[in-house]
């Protein structure tokens, strides 16, 4: 997989250079406030982890970067230029690829078509030139195998896959096409231990290839394995914003959940 990443990564990335910056960004959905005063910098070659409770605004945050919803307040800068994406296509054109928590795939379409959707391989640039169907099937299959996912039939509609398998397709796609910034919204939530491990390795590899990564998760252990920078959201506001060097796993866990709940719980439930 590292080869895939290096092949596709933008060669002009320099570690530590800011790719995406959010300055005092806020967002309301009609009457409901989802985000307020968020500052976040995504640097090349670093993983920024966003943690937080359910409904804290994590998905909203990344939907803004990905161009799915415009922000209402503050500024988003990409490569230093202020932007307000009106469609994900624009974000993709800036090399920002995203795995969404809830809108990953088109159920009725085949696995390989989903994999290449929006970035199909064609013979020429002419819009009606034929698709390279065989190559696309082969590549989709290979990339999925690298994640340890073997779909029974690459021509199956993706709606027939299990929830985790679908998630893997979406992740494999984003990694394959994510040239500069990779955004992952709870990528490991639906995955088993093994697949989670693979995703974490991918994340690390992407970071090492110089990409900027935003990694959203509920799992402080996962976050701490790969993150360079941690932000914890609560009710739409950042309550913690620290470098890896300034924080410990214990602190993260405590901040996330009001303490070592899991350990406590295990005592409580012990029989």
């Amino acid at each position: 997989m590292t080869d895939t990443l290096h092949e596709h990564a933008d060669p002009n990335l320099h570690k530590g250079e800011p790719l995406v910056q959010m300055v005092d960004v806020g967002k309301t959905y009609g009457a409901i406030r989802a985000l307020k005063g968020i500052n976040l910098t995504v640097n090349a070659g670093e993983v920024s982890c966003v943690l937080g409770d359910n409904g804290a605004g994590k998905s909203t945050l990344i939907k803004i970067i990905a161009g799915l919803h415009p922000h209402n307040e503050g500024q988003v800068l990409v490569d230093g230029q202020p932007v307000s994406f009106s469609s994900p296509r624009e974000a993709l054109a800036h090399g920002i690829a995203t795995v969404y928590q809830d809108l990953a795939v088109v159920s009725l379409m085949e696995v390989w078509r989903n994999f290449f959707l929006g970035s199909e391989m064609t013979g020429s640039r002419f819009p009606l030139s034929g698709l390279k169907t065989k190559d696309m099937k082969r590549i989709a299959d290979e990339e999925l195998r690298k994640m340890g996912i073997v779909v029974k039939n690459i021509d199956q509609p993706i709606g027939e896959l299990s929830g985790g398998q679908r998630q893997c397709v979406a992740i494999a796609r984003a990694v394959y096409f994510g040239a500069r910034v990779l955004i992952l919204d709870e990528p490991t939530a639906a995955l088993g231990v093994k697949q989670s491990g693979v995703v974490l390795k991918y994340t690390a590899a992407a970071r090492d290839a110089g990409l900027g990564v935003v990694f959203i998760t509920h799992n402080p252990h996962h976050a701490f394995l790969v993150g360079n920078h941690f932000i914890i959201l609560k009710l739409g506001q950042a309550v913690l914003d620290k470098k890896r060097s300034e924080v410990t796993l214990d602190e993260l866990t405590r901040q996330m959940a009001g303490g070592d709940e899991l350990t406590e719980l295990s005592h409580e439930l012990q029989r």
């Binding site: 469609s87 379409m109 819009p127």
Partner: protein, 354 residues
């Protein structure tokens, strides 16, 4: 059964164990158009048996002609439905196209080609308007195109009355350019005893071209995606708005094409023509296996759906059944076609390989 099951070596169960390659017969059965094809064959054989006059080759060509006039626009409507939208103005736009061409050239006395091209531009503009409004406002296409349906219907009548003083357009057959346009849009090839209308050829070409675009090009991929799940498609960078507007314009393009056929074949168009055909197109598409909710279907299926419709409506006449019951027969036939289609699809998934 002809399925192959590749079983991986027992040592590596996690790798490829229950991986499956479907056999040819199962893969065939799973295609959207096969159910429609079987239904078409059943109905065809049925009429061969009950209607003696259905058996002559010239009857077949009449049926093909009737199917093609519905079928050309139905190809585009099928694409649009795969893309998740409806167009209720698809029936009247054919009349608009023809009337525009005839009246424009008649009033100004210019070559019919000029009018035909301007009419095309006008129709594409209507399609663009439909698509733009749907995407811009988020109002369902059913409503937007219902609006344009009414407006076009009213304008067909109002403008024609205004220009010609009657409710039918002028006859273009003495005007410049008629011969060549007639050849392109309405020529009839005499092949021995049977007459083959050029629209049949155009119909097959359009259906095949659309099938190619759908299956083999990036745009086809996008059409399925915007119909299957527009939000997901947008999220991965498919230009949803452009694709949908393009589909509406395709409908109005083929509507224009059919309008040209009507004009150059029948010469005089009544302003009230075409109303109701929009549903025939939708019926053809759905009978041909297109999903009403979008994301699934195939233009070959739509072509077969048009053929089923043409065959059924003429077959009843050939069979000489009581005309009072015509509609009832038509309804039963349609239901049968859809049920056969469904049955075939069930077959394709019920066959086991595990």
């Amino acid at each position: 059964m002809s399925q192959t099951v590749r079983t991986a070596p027992a040592g590596a169960p996690a790798e490829a164990s229950n991986r499956v390659t479907l056999g040819l017969s199962n893969r065939l059965l799973a295609r959207p158009e096969v159910g429609a094809l079987v239904a078409a064959i059943v109905i065809f054989v049925f009429f061969l048996v009950v209607a003696p006059s259905f058996r002559s080759p010239s009857s077949l060509f009449t049926v093909l002609y009737a199917s093609s006039v519905i079928g050309i626009v139905a190809v585009a409507v099928g694409l649009l439905m795969i893309g998740g939208e409806f167009d209720l103005s698809a029936g009247v736009i054919t009349t608009t196209a023809g009337l525009f061409n005839a009246m424009f050239c008649f009033q100004l006395g210019i070559n019919l080609w000029v009018g035909a091209i301007l009419s095309l531009v006008f129709c594409l503009a209507i399609g663009f308007f439909n698509g733009y409004m749907v995407m811009r406002t988020g109002i369902p296409s059913f409503l937007i195109t219902l609006g344009s349906f009414f407006v076009l219907q009213g304008a067909n009548l109002g403008v024609t009355k205004l220009v010609t003083g009657s409710v039918s357009g002028p006859n273009p057959n003495q005007m410049d350019g008629y011969a060549s346009l007639n050849f392109i849009f309405a020529h009839v090839f005499q092949i021995g005893p049977v007459a083959l209308n050029i629209t049949v050829i155009w119909w097959l070409i359009f259906a095949a071209a659309a099938a190619y675009v759908l299956q083999r090009t990036r745009i086809g991929n996008w059409i399925y995606a915007v119909g299957g799940n527009a939000a997901s498609a947008r999220a991965v960078g498919v230009p949803v708005t452009r694709v949908k507007i393009g589909l509406f314009m395709t409908v109005s393009f083929l509507g224009w094409f059919t309008g040209m056929h009507l004009l150059y074949n029948f010469n005089v168009l009544q302003a009230g023509l075409g109303v109701g055909n929009e549903f025939l197109y939708i019926i053809a598409a759905v009978v041909g296996g297109t999903l009403m909710t979008g994301g699934y279907g195939n233009t070959i299926g739509v072509a077969i759906g048009s053929f089923i419709f043409g065959m059924t409506s003429l077959g009843i006449v050939y069979a000489g059944w009581d005309p009072n019951w015509f509609r009832a027969f038509l309804g039963v036939m349609l239901l049968l076609a859809v049920l056969v289609n469904l049955y075939v699809k069930k077959l394709s998934t019920a066959r086991k390989v595990g």
